[in-house]
């Protein structure tokens, strides 16, 4: 029991150390990128289970992230006052999911509460994942990659073309997401530290849940599908159903990440829905080592942090494309699984032999 949670101690220590170190050196601004990286990491660990344990590739996870972000942004900012007298709005009011807000001109508007918007967004993402997954996952092979690629492009074009989703500008002025009491997801500088911890609590909870899943009957079934699909079937594993469920689960992780990130940034734009973002997520899972939840998490934090700090400059997307190619060629089991010692030994023995000659 204790042993299972042991790997989380270094992670928690790391999270706290980063906070203390940045506050000590007066570089608290790093926490902003750490928080955003954590939200991306939440999406990536979900994708890792789909890719590494169920053996499927999704090229549409930016789409699910965008559905989460865009729906919660639109529902919490778009004024419903013109529909005041309709039955639907009265019903929503009775349910207690409406709240008053202000638009950028200070006018009073009526919007959906962040909690209700969050739940709606996550449900929509799950439903869409279900409808894409049902036909695509009945077939063996990489049909899911094709279907999700198409889905990702559709989502990108829809948010870019639709006035409701703000076209090329996206949606800004997204209100804070009050979780409980004074704890709120927002980009307010005074709440930077609490938001840093909110993001990490979410990520750690996500890893705990997924680790439990992998070490269970369901996880074994998923790994069996990956190991030998027909044998899994004849052991009674409904392969299509399991692949579908894990895909929907990962879409839920992506949507939750999108919702929180949007409230944290106070805005969302079409670049979050781009296909290159999906490719980036796939690349990060590959670097982490596919069936390696911790690897995916570590790489998600490092690479997203560097990218968000602008280390890759305008070559950002190119860098992730390159990473994907290099990993596939030289370390298909991920960067953390390379046996460094044997590689080095091989390198030096070769060098030595060259010397002798």
């Amino acid at each position: 029991m204790m042993k299972k949670y042991l790997p989380f101690l270094p992670l928690i220590a790391f999270v706290v150390c980063v906070h203390l170190l940045t506050s000590w050196t007066g570089t608290l601004y790093y926490l902003t990128q750490m928080t955003m990286s954590a939200y991306y990491a939440l999406l990536i660990i979900g994708l890792c289970v789909v890719m590494g344990y169920a053996g499927q590739i999704s090229l549409g996870h930016a789409g699910f992230f965008a559905i989460g972000g865009y729906l919660s942004a639109a529902l919490t900012t778009r004024n419903l006052l013109p529909f005041e007298d309709t039955a639907v709005l009265r019903m929503l009011d009775a349910l207690g999911v409406l709240m008053k807000g202000q638009d950028i001109y200070g006018e009073v508007i009526v919007v959906i509460t962040p909690w209700a918007a969050c739940i709606t967004a996550v449900c929509v993402a799950a439903l869409l994942a279900f409808f894409i997954g049902v036909p695509a996952l009945k077939l063996k092979g990489h049909y899911l990659a094709m279907a999700t690629l198409g889905f990702g492009i559709i989502i990108y074009r829809v948010v870019l073309a639709s006035e409701y989703f703000g076209e090329a500008d996206g949606i800004s002025e997204v209100p804070p997401f009050v979780l409980a009491g004074s704890l709120a997801v927002s980009g307010d500088f005074s709440e930077r530290i609490s938001n840093y911890y909110i993001a990490w609590v979410l990520v750690i909870a996500g890893v705990v849940l997924l680790r439990n899943l992998i070490d269970s009957r369901v996880g074994r079934a998923l790994r069996a599908i990956h190991g030998a699909e027909d044998a899994a079937g004849s052991m009674g594993v409904d392969t299509a159903r399991y692949k579908l469920h894990v895909f929907v689960l990962s879409a839920v992780f992506a949507a939750i990440a999108g919702v929180f990130m949007t409230h944290y940034n106070g805005s969302i734009g079409p670049s979050e829905a781009g296909v290159m973002k999906s490719v980036r997520y796939v690349a990060i899972v590959a670097v982490g080592g596919m069936a390696h939840l911790w690897g995916a998490l570590i790489m998600a934090i490092i690479l997203n942090f560097l990218s968000l700090r602008g280390v890759f400059g305008s070559y950002d997307d190119a860098v992730f494309g390159l990473i994907l190619i290099v990993i596939m060629l030289f370390a298909p089991n991920g960067l953390l699984r390379i046996n460094l010692r044997s590689k080095l030994q091989a390198f030096f023995s070769r060098a030595k032999r060259a010397e002798e000659v």
């Binding site: 009957r217 369901v218 996880g219 074994r220 079934a221 030998a228 009674g236």
Partner: protein, 251 residues
């Protein structure tokens, strides 16, 4: 009483009749063998019964169920387990984990109870682990429990595969060439094992090339040639059947 009954079963791959009008029954508690030269359609027949391939026509009845339109996972849930000719271990999983997958249809933890690790799921997990360990013990490979299954010796992999199939608690077990690749000692051991499985109350249907094994342990034998059943009977009858001798030895 017939546990499994095949009636006028056909499987065509394009113009090739891989299984052609095959009918026979497997009675409860017996060991029945399907023999025949290479390409006789034995493995295809197994794939039809296990639901890995759809039959072109005919019927497959198991207890009171019609299997023909069922998927392989549904057939497994009804109580039919199988092994494969070219052992199919689950890559990246230990021997024990492989056997634990066999408990799948006898357990029920879903996504939510697994993720939240409920006390109920934990109890079930322990039951799965204990039961699987018992089976590894039964097959004398308990010491390999934590070794990755694909790195085990061939004979041990066979045993793991058998344990995995038994973990399902089947009423009928389909063994596709259980002695393939085994030496004569291991083959004799496999024969004893199969008899022991039958004595546990599990009906056995096997495809096998090793004639000494088949003649030793089978209660009844079906002979296939070019997809058709050419003979069926007791081992002693089959040994003396001129048709069978003709296909094995030529005229």
């Amino acid at each position: 009483m017939a546990l499994l009954r095949l009636e006028k079963l056909h499987k065509r791959f394009g113009g090739l009749k891989a299984v052609n009008d095959v009918s026979f029954a497997v009675n409860e508690g017996q060991i029945k063998a399907v023999i025949g030269p290479n390409g006789a359609g034995k493995t295809t027949l197994f794939n039809l019964i296990a639901g890995s391939l759809p039959a072109s026509s005919g019927s497959i009845t198991f207890k009171k169920w019609q299997l023909r339109r069922k998927k392989s996972y549904q057939i497994a849930a009804l109580g039919i387990a199988r092994t494969f000719q070219n052992i199919k271990m689950f890559n990246g999983m230990t021997a024990l984990e492989n056997v634990m997958v066999g408990r799948h249809v006898r357990s029920g933890a879903g996504f939510l109870s697994s993720m939240f690790h409920t006390p109920w799921a934990r109890r079930e997990e322990k039951e799965i682990r204990d039961r699987s360990m018992e089976l590894l013990d039964l097959l004398d490979i308990a010491e390999c429990a934590d070794v990755e299954a694909t790195s085990l010796a061939f004979g041990q992999q066979r045993a793991v595969e058998l344990a995995r199939a038994l973990a399902l608690e089947p009423d009928l077990i389909l063994l596709d060439e259980p002695a393939a690749g085994l030496n004569i000692y291991e083959t004799a051991e496999m024969g004893r094992l199969i008899t022991r499985i039958r004595d546990l109350g599990i009906t056995v249907l096997l495809v096998e090339h090793d004639m000494s094994l088949v003649m030793d342990i089978s209660d009844e034998i079906v002979v296939l040639s070019f997809g058709e059943k050419i003979s069926e009977g007791l081992p002693s009858e089959i040994q003396n059947d001129p048709e069978v001798i003709k296909i094995y030895l030529g005229e």
